[in-house]
């Protein structure tokens, strides 16, 4: 069966520090991968998605970047965090050819920037 791992679960970082959130999917090949951010009291905002190694699309301009160095690894990064980067970050994957719109989400990473 497929599983998705996301870490760290909780992170407190000072403004201006770097960020690296990692997401790994197991049990499948060539999934679509996504990074979402969930701000308090708001819905999920799509940040990045990837359809293959090295292929990254950004949905909104921001202080963050994403990379996909391996088929089942998706990394969210920042060189210098801003206060506005605080939030709950969710990684998700989608089986190509699977049921439309069915994303499988990780447990999330809560980032607090102080």
């Amino acid at each position: 069966s497929q599983t998705i791992h996301q870490w760290p679960a909780t992170l407190v970082q000072p403004v201006g520090s770097p960020l690296s959130l990692e997401c790994t999917v197991e049990g499948t090949s060539n999934p679509n991968l996504y990074w979402y951010r969930q701000a308090a009291g708001r819905g999920l905002q799509l940040l990045f998605y990837s359809v293959g190694i090295g292929q990254i699309s950004s949905e909104v301009p921001q202080n963050l970047s994403a990379s996909r160095p391996q088929d089942r690894q998706f990394i969210l990064s920042s060189k210098k965090l801003l206060l506005s980067d605080s939030g709950f970050y969710l990684c998700a994957w989608k089986l190509i050819g699977g049921d439309a719109g069915e994303l499988f989400f990780g447990e999330g990473s809560r980032l607090t920037v102080l």
Binding site: Y36, G43, L44, K94, G101
Partner: protein, 115 residues
Amino acid sequence: AQTVTQSQPEMSVQEAETVTLSCTYDTSENNYYLFWYKQPPSRQMILVIRQEAYKQQNATENRFSVNFQKAAKSFSLKISDSQLGDTAMYFCAFMKGNAGNMLTFGGGTRLMVKP
């Protein structure tokens, strides 16, 4: 661009009763999908129910059903016989038919089921 609106930030219901969560959306597309996702406290978000816009019949999954009103662009979720495990954030989501599985989510409704 599509928008999804959930007008009820919080709701509560007594165990075993029925509750309806509202969702409206705005789109000019004719081919699309609608979804309800559930995010339990400290647990992973999961898909609850899916509706294809071209289907007139409302989707049903056990105690969960939807009322899809295409002309009104309304997509409400009804939970029957509410259980304590239904306590969660519920997100309504929209996807264009050829959008590569990119979903637009509403702001969510926090549902509390009371014993």
